[in-house]
């Protein structure tokens, strides 16, 4: 009887291991599939291009993962990408004109980057404050700031594109193209993604702050009663997401060597999809950065692979949608199975301790 039980449990754990690694398995299968479908797919060049694309919504998805783990959502990130690009591009092309003093200031690129990141942080602070201090649902609060940020991005140039953002040596603001360039052949964006991924993963798993994020999403009330500063941590998480979005704004403008106010539109959806594919629970409390990165690569491989196979953009959308829904269904299945196993473990321990009835 107990032997049978053990066997059952072993089967369970094998199934669980497969379930847990499912996104990675899917990624591997996709890579294999596309390398057969398109001979050019599995080449260094394609992979580097893929990394360059994935860097963009990968970074967004990291910020989004933090937010979703707290049980929230950040719809404003796509618009912040647009606004961030416009602010960086505008500062380089036109400088900052102080009307009252009659001067125009041109900042060096590091300063431009810093200002852009601060704007992203400010929008995150706004999101976090509206959500925690005024009790607005994250969906609505960030929907609002999404429109606001996009509006400001458009206003910045009246809808025009800044196309002269490589700087002027005489003004000392050259070098913005660095973020779109390559170091030893590796896109800078991908390097930034890797750095942010490692740091944010450490922050999430190895620090008090990180565990407080999990606690808030798992059970906000218990977190509060345990002494977690729920409001402060939540605000910091939205700031982090805003900063990630601003960084993506810089990278994308640099990659294109132009700032377009509509860039980043609907990217928040890709970021959410990557997080969810990577096993982040929309209910909050569960998620990993590693999973999210794999999720981002799944989306990237699907997009780039299908482009190489000549699948139309419209079909790409349909397939992406199906993959996301399937991922969540499997996720649900895994949760149910885990809950069942937990209950089973509980009943067994009860059987062992007869006084426990």
């Amino acid at each position: 009887m107990s032997l049978e039980l053990n066997k059952k449990q072993k089967n369970h754990s094998l199934a669980m291991a497969l379930l847990k690694g499912r996104t990675l398995i899917v990624l591997a299968l996709l890579v294999v599939f596309f390398s057969f479908a398109s001979p050019n797919f599995l080449t260094a060049n394609t992979m580097l291009l893929l990394a360059k694309h994935v860097a963009l919504y990968g970074i967004l998805a990291i910020g989004m993962t933090y937010v979703i783990i707290t049980g929230g959502i950040d719809l404003s990130v796509g618009a912040v990408v647009g606004l961030g690009g416009m602010i960086a591009g505008g500062l380089i092309q036109n400088g900052l004109t102080l009307q009252f003093a009659g001067v125009t200031l041109y900042f060096s690129v590091p300063l431009v980057v810093l200002i852009t990141i601060l704007v992203g942080a400010a929008i995150g602070l706004l999101n976090g404050t509206i959500i925690t201090k005024f009790g607005v649902a994250p969906f609505i609060a960030t929907l609002g700031t999404m429109y606001i940020a996009r509006g400001f991005a458009m206003l910045h140039s009246n809808g025009a594109t800044y196309s002269n953002i490589l700087g002027n040596a005489a003004l000392g603001n050259t070098g913005f193209d660095f973020f779109g360039s390559r170091i030893f052949g590796i896109p800078v964006g991908a390097i930034i993604l890797a750095v942010i991924a490692v740091l944010s993963s450490l922050l999430l798993m190895k620090t008090t702050f990180g565990w407080h994020i999990f606690a808030i999403g798992g059970n906000g009330k218990a977190a509060k009663l345990s002494g977690v500063k729920v409001d402060k941590v939540t605000i910091l998480v939205y700031i982090f997401s805003g900063v990630c979005a601003a960084i993506v704004g810089i990278i994308t403008a640099s990659q294109l060597e132009a700032s377009h106010p509509a860039s980043g539109e609907t990217w928040e959806m890709n970021a959410i999809a990557a997080a969810v594919l990577g096993g982040t629970s929309m209910m909050g409390g569960i998620g990993t950065i590693g999973g999210t990165i794999v999720g981002a690569f799944v989306i990237g491989v699907i997009s780039d692979g299908m482009v190489m196979c000549g699948v139309s953009e419209f079909w790409q959308m349909i397939i992406k949608g199906l993959v996301i829904i399937l991922a969540v269904i499997i996720d649900q299945f895994q949760r149910n199975m885990e809950a069942k196993m937990a209950l089973q473990a509980r009943n067994e321990s009860k059987d062992e301790t007869p006084e426990g009835n």
């Binding site: 620090t207 218990a222 009663l225 002494g227 409390g285 509980r346 426990g356």
Partner: protein
């Protein structure tokens, strides 16, 4: 008709029974909420159900109203066996219920609330709002509360809302049984008298009422038959005219169980006062007080018990101390110095820790593993720079698991893989790991089996002997009598009594726990 003879005291009457429950069982995971309870609803009478918190009254009512399904037993109406898979099935048999917590739609108006799910329609499609309004007006007149049918229910006072709740049930044409679960808990004295008048009118029309209340005097005033439950079991039933208040108290209290007892031979006068609360007040929404000038002190190494009924303000008192109600007034003096209370984090740093009443909703983070649930409140202690020192954290968690004997195979397992008792120990361990001076425990024995209860009490004894001061809330008389060095009783937000271990009796506790309501009546 009641035919059973095995119980010692049971009603003998010729009045016909409209609904007979035979040996009802209700099993929840871990506990038996109802155990072989038989109950009769006599026609045209006020049938009172009474018992301590958790005695099974509300569970029995929910089964009769079709909200919960019994695990065993049968219900018969007019000799025929009936089953109520849902509320509408019970309603079809003429059974209506007024809930303890209001179950109205605050966003809708009076007539919409009254006719929700029993709408009057024209040609089965269009709503006949004219008829809704007309009938609402008529019924509210009858209830002596002529409220405009178009008023939004959320804007009404709680007492008026209670009247809407009653009106909802009266609208039913063939009402046979009306269940009222503590309908007077939020009513003023005047409204209570109106309610009693309505109840008498209803019984005169032949409608049977099942009445649950914590106000003992009320039962003597309005009740016809009384049935007493304890720990999910039937204790006794009688006609109200044959009994006295003291009989009810005696039956409610029952006989002793054995719990680890506190030592009595301690000279508390020599112990230092760790905390003093002075005139703690917390206003209730819509008038009145949740806490009304409550003062007490707590000594080093003492276990102070707080007894009271549900809604007496016990949990709110803890919440004030923990910083969840910064709007409260009064003073808390810690180690001789008055403190300003702002938030929970600050209170934990000052040396307070709380084990909340609702383990699932407030105590545990279900998505985290056992170890993290234990260390959550004290993570900062294990941080080295910004990173957590895993070794220090693990050592602390392992130490705590050993100290309070949490039965775990691996601390990395999900928290829900533990039994209720061990989950509770995790929550207690989380509090103790913050190295508190004062530990607040809100119903620490709720929903756990007797073995685990004893262990929880041993943990409390152990830490009290080591110098920790504890305040424990409990609704169970035997428990609080055993575990506390001193007991204060809250009733309706007022501190009505204080007993030392030497002079406390269960009867005194029960009487004091009803006193706050009487005081209110007098004022």
């Amino acid at each position: 008709m009641a035919t059973e003879t095995q119980a010692v005291e049971r009603i003998h009457t010729d009045i016909p029974s409209v609904l007979h429950c035979e040996k009802m069982d209700k099993i929840y995971p871990g506990t038996k909420a109802l155990d072989q309870v038989s109950f009769d609803v006599y026609k045209g009478k006020v049938n009172v159900l009474i018992g301590e918190n958790g005695a099974g009254k509300s569970t029995l009512m929910k089964i009769i109203a079709g909200i919960e399904q019994p695990s065993g037993g049968t219900m018969t109406m007019g000799g025929e066996e009936v089953h109520f898979p849902d509320v509408s099935a019970a309603r079809a048999h003429g059974i209506g219920i007024i809930h303890q917590e209001l179950s109205l739609f605050p966003n809708l108006n009076v007539y919409q609330n009254i006719f929700m799910a029993r709408e009057i329609t024209r040609h089965k499609v269009g709503l006949d709002n004219a008829a809704h309004i007309r009938r609402t007006k008529a019924i509210m007149e009858k209830l002596e509360h002529p409220i405009d049918p178009l008023t939004i229910v959320g804007d009404l006072r709680v007492g008026q809302q209670q009247m809407i709740e009653i009106a909802r049930n009266l609208i039913q044409d063939d009402l046979k049984i009306l269940i009222m679960d503590e309908p007077t808990s939020s009513l003023s004295e005047q409204e209570v008298q109106v309610l009693f008048k309505i109840m008498r009118e209803l019984t005169a029309e032949g409608i049977s009422i099942v009445y649950i209340s914590h106000r003992l005097e009320e039962i003597m005033q309005i009740g016809d038959f009384v049935t007493i439950l304890r720990d999910g079991k039937f204790v006794a039933s009688a006609a109200v005219e044959d009994i006295e208040l003291s009989w009810i108290v005696r039956k409610m209290v029952g006989t002793k169980k054995s719990y680890p007892q506190r030592k009595e031979a301690v000279d508390w006068t020599t112990r230092k006062v760790v905390m003093r609360a002075e005139d703690i007040c917390l206003p209730k929404k819509g008038g009145g007080w949740l806490l009304n000038h409550v003062s007490f002190e707590l000594k080093q190494g003492e276990i102070l018990g707080i007894y009271g009924l549900m809604g007496a303000g016990r949990t709110e008192l803890f919440e004030c101390i923990m910083g969840l109600h910064p709007e409260h007034t009064g003073r808390i003096i810690l180690d001789g110095k008055p403190i300003e209370i702002h938030n929970v984090t600050e209170q934990i740093e000052r040396g307070f820790a709380m084990v909340p009443e609702d383990r699932q909703r407030e105590g545990l983070v279900q998505t985290m593993d056992i170890g993290k649930n234990i260390s959550l409140s004290s993570l900062k202690r294990y941080a080295k720079g910004i990173f957590l020192n895993k070794r220090a954290e693990d050592a602390a968690v392992d130490g705590e698991i050993k100290d309070i004997h949490i039965k775990v195979a691996d601390k990395r397992l999900p928290i829900l893989s533990l039994s209720g008792g061990n989950q509770q120990k995790v929550v207690i361990g989380k509090g103790i790991l913050t190295q508190p001076k004062i530990l607040l425990l809100d119903e620490p024995s709720r929903g756990i089996d007797i073995g685990a209860k004893t262990e929880v009490f041993e943990i409390m004894n152990h830490y009290a002997d080591a110098g920790l001061s504890l305040i424990v809330i409990s609704s169970e008389l035997e428990e609080i009598e055993a575990i506390a060095d001193r007991i204060i009783v809250l009733s309706n937000g007022i501190k009505t009594a204080e007993f030392t271990k030497a002079d406390v009796t269960q009867d005194k506790l029960v009487l004091a726990s009803y006193k706050g309501h009487t005081t209110q009546k007098a004022s």
